[in-house]
């Protein structure tokens, strides 16, 4: 590419993926400019002081462990990234009992045995089986999806590679793999376990970010990611970033800057400049025009192709597919500033059980009923809630003695039934969450200093996530791998030359993993080489 423009690459959006792409391109010697609409970097991986002294991880709240190669390549620890462990999952039950799984294998085994000896045994087997599955899936997460519709040998080799790996598995593993890719979380777990609360809590990771229930086919495979270092999709994982989730984005940004990337905030983009089928640059909201050899957009396809690109530029067939791409935000957040710690009926007082994730998922029926509400356009009357209290691990994010509790809530359907709208329902939604928590920790209402409610509509307006989908598009089978985001356009390129996608809407998808940002950068660099 003849480089007569100011920059080699402009990255649209300063989320963790955009920043990752920027860092990789900068490290390859490219002149990179990142443009972020908001006043703060990080997109949905952001820390903001919403109330004086209280630094909330407003959206994403735990680290779905970043791809290790990214941490390595970008040397993130040196740039200030420090991951603190999040130990275990505590599930209070209405009966007054609870299920408390921790990283300590022996403890967890005894705890599950308390509910069912059979399950305690099965739990270990299950873990092993999942590991075997991970070995199959991991390389797929870090490969550029093949295009099964071409006869291009390179693409066919990729398919063959996957086929071979599959053939290479034991028939036992094949059996599990096939089930994982197709079954519902509950159908799958039913084969292993009998304890309802265990199945309910484990199944939760199969629904996060989707508009599916734990009984919906296709939810089983997300469970798998729970067992992977890198989690594609599942919000939950085993780590906090010191200083909140935003610290991850800041570390990546720091690495990018060090490599020479230029990063601007409060730089909203009005349009991508396209001349005879080629992306040339961008027009900022304030009218400035900036030119570059390539543009890579980390915002979702709907914004990129229907808002930032002039109508009539793209082939109708492609736009049709973009419009078909499903977002359907199904979750919200309630962030609380607390004066003290919540006190759980089933395990009173402070303790290690508050240091991990606290999951409101008492039964399979509870989880499925929460979904039923959402199907007909209501937020769940009794939702699935995943709570963490980061201040117990990282006191720096709140004033001394005070606490932060972050509550991820599903389901909160973006499209409410006719007659309801989120602006009116916002506080009712928040109240409902608090009331649900109060059934397990009655003191919650008395210890709340401040409350921030984040609805799917807020996610769309404030964070630019269409329909409030936290993963830039549903993680359902028909929107994964070579079908993400648009069938035939899963390789980070677009019908417009020099315009790329590098956000969570591309393979391997959402969650703070940086996978899409890195893979996109590698593809972009290939094209640079090809052109040079």
């Amino acid at each position: 590419m003849p480089s007569n423009s100011k920059y080699d690459a402009i990255i649209i959006g300063g989320g963790h993926n955009g920043l990752t792409t920027a860092a990789y391109l900068a490290r390859a010697g490219k002149k990179v400019l990142v443009l972020e609409r908001r006043h703060v970097l990080g997109g949905a991986a952001v820390t903001e002081e919403v109330f004086p002294g209280f630094k909330f991880s407003v959206c994403s709240y735990v680290v779905s462990l970043l791809r290790p190669e990214i941490i390595r390549d970008l040397d993130l620890p040196r740039h200030g990234l420090e991951i603190l462990p999040l130990d275990g999952t505590f599930t209070p039950m209405p009966s007054g009992d609870y299920l408390w799984r921790v990283n300590d294998h022996g403890k967890t085994h005894r705890e599950i045995a308390r509910h069912s000896k059979v399950d305690a045994e099965a739990y270990d087997e299950f873990g092993k089986a999942m590991q075997a599955m991970c070995r199959f899936v991991k390389p797929i997460l870090s490969m550029v999806p093949p295009d099964p519709a071409t006869l291009n040998p390179k693409e066919l080799m990729k398919l063959l590679f996957i086929g071979r790996r599959f053939q290479g598995m034991t028939s036992e593993d094949k059996y599990n793999q096939v089930q994982l890719m197709t079954m519902s979380a509950i159908d799958f777990l039913d084969q292993w376990f009998e304890t309802d609360v265990l199945k309910a809590t484990m199944s939760a990771s199969g629904i996060i970010g989707t508009f599916l229930g734990v009984r919906s086919p296709g939810t089983a495979y997300v469970l798998l990611h729970h067992y992977m270092g890198e989690i594609d999709g599942a919000f939950r994982s085993w780590g906090f970033a010191r200083g909140g989730t935003g610290a991850i984005s800041n570390a990546i940004a720091d690495a990018a800057r060090e490599a020479g990337a230029e990063i601007r905030t409060k730089a909203a983009i009005a349009q991508i400049i396209v001349k005879n089928g080629k992306a040339k640059g961008v027009v900022l909201a304030d009218g400035d025009e900036i030119y570059a050899d390539i543009i890579s957009s980390s915002v979702d396809p709907r914004l990129t192709f229907t808002k930032l690109i002039e109508a009539g530029t793209l082939p109708g067939e492609f736009l049709e597919e973009v419009n078909r791409y499903k977002f359907r935000g199904s979750s919200g957040k309630v962030n609380l500033a607390l004066d003290a710690l919540p006190n759980f009926k089933c395990m009173p007082g402070p303790g290690a059980h508050l240091r991990g994730a606290i999951s409101i998922s008492p039964s399979v029926e509870y989880m499925e009923k929460a979904y039923d509400d959402a199907k007909y356009g209501n937020f769940s009357r009794r939702p699935y809630i995943d709570m963490v209290i980061p201040t117990l691990t990282d006191p720096s994010v709140a004033p001394p003695g005070k606490h932060i509790m972050s509550c991820f809530v599903q389901y909160a359907p973006y499209k409410l039934r006719p007659g309801l709208n989120w602006d009116e329902q916002k506080e009712a939604f928040g109240d409902n969450v608090i009331n649900t928590i109060a059934e397990y920790a009655p003191n919650i209402k008395d210890i709340i200093l401040h409350r921030q409610v984040v609805t799917p509509l807020d996610l769309e307006r404030e964070f630019g996530l269409s329909e409030g989908n936290i993963f830039q598009g549903e993680l359902s089978l028909e929107q994964l791998f070579f079908l993400r985001p648009v069938p035939g356009w899963a390789q980070f390129r677009t019908p417009i030359k020099n315009l790329y996608m590098c956000g969570s809407a591309t393979h391997p998808g959402g969650g703070i993993m940086g996978g899409p940002g890195r893979l996109a950068a590698l593809e972009i660099l290939k094209d640079f080489k090809g052109a040079a």
């Binding site: 096939v178 039913d190 028909e478």
Partner: protein
Amino acid sequence: MPETKSRSANRNVVIIGGGHNGLVTAFYLAKAGFKPLVLERRGQTGGAAITEEFHPGFRCSTLAHAAGPLRPDIVRDMQLEKHGLKMIMPEVEVTSLTPDGRALTLYRDTEKSCQEIAKFSQKDATKYPQFQSSLAKMGRVIGKALTLAPPDIDNPTSGDLWGMLNTGRSIRKLGRRDMYRLLRWGPMAVADLVAEYFETELLRATIAARGIFGTFLGPWSAGSSLVLLIRAAGDEHPAGSCWFAAGGMGAVTQAMASAAQQAGAEIRTGAEVIEVRVKDGAASGVVLSNGEEISARAVISNADPKRTLLKLVDPAHLSPDFVMKLQHYRMPGTVAKVNLALSGLPRFTALGDEINGVLSGRIHIGPEIDYLERAFDESKYGNFSRQPYLEVTIPSLTDPALAPEGKHVMSIYMQYAPYKLKDSDWEKQRVALGDTVVKTLAQYAPGLPSQILTHQIITPQDLEDTYGLTGGHIFHGELSLDQFFTMRPLLDWARYRTPIENLYLCGSGTHPGTGLTGGSGANAAREILKDLKK
């Protein structure tokens, strides 16, 4: 002489169960010169495709009330017409009704359907033929796969490779657009699929129903599109067309039985197999309930996989792992059947007196996607739907011989009726089930209750007890991605063979296993013959 005896003995094959697939298998084996003996537990062959007199002068397809449709090559090979089968194909496929008195009728003739759809939405009327042609294209591809024996993944035979290559080629022929459609549609929820094409709720629901019929899926369940695609493989009409047989579905299996017998198969009814005899890992024959033992070179079971391998075979002959997996094979039934003898033709509010044959196809009750999904919701928690999805036929309209002059029979599939009820059992709920069905229909045809002379109620429990369908599942197991093609019934055991040598499966619990098509029986016969001819 003894030598010839042994040679003939060497050709003896036992087939457990005289359902349509068992009869199809029997026919092909007999035609190949073997001596199949079909053993049917009940007093008549036909399995789930039977016609019975359930009230003096009133005959009705007891269970299945419309054909799959039958695979044409099977109809041809067995010369079913010559054996007395007369198919009835009303030009009306389905009429969908709404409680507020609207009706949408879809015809075999696409143009005519479009005219009807246009009354609801011009846009949908233009989309309908596009949707149908996409279904047709993909159907041709899937249709190819349905006629294949699922390949052996680990070491594919040359035949497998050829079959896959063949299918692969036809997939390529689809072209990029439809190929990606195929990949995308498979795992989708049918509610999403129909919403991509149509805006009319009634039309959406009518087509979506095809993706959930007989399954433990709702229209919002991922994978329900696959069920629609599989069915479209045999019949590209979006909502599915309507194939009756003169004399009811029993006439189909009677023709098959007669074809099999003429080809040399022997059929014994009232002969219940209680055990498959296994000697050193190989099936050697069967034991009947009366103690009689019949030895055979091969035993082929038309019964479902669980019944065959967990009940008729001593588990000692199977690996615990295999048994465990088979126990996990999902076959929770979701449908019940209600047959009514009527003193006259019910008057549907939406149609008034201007019926013009629109009742001669299927009648779809389930006006909205959400209506269908809500019906499904209740079954998830172990209750049968209070506002069920119904597929109704009045076969006596096209086949008056089924009922006395001026009177009619109405055949109703009710969904969802979960096999496992929460804190109750089907004996207690039988009456309530019947009432729910009649009450639901009365919302569309207020006069109906007063026209009922008698009703026959068949619960999922009856389907298991009387008709031998484990879990009351009419398709011998869920039609879901994880139980389809190379996974039906189990991965590594999808080729009609079982871990027990000389014991085979030929029922709907094997690929393709969809409705009354004969596909499983024909595929199975082809595979089994490969072994028998060795």
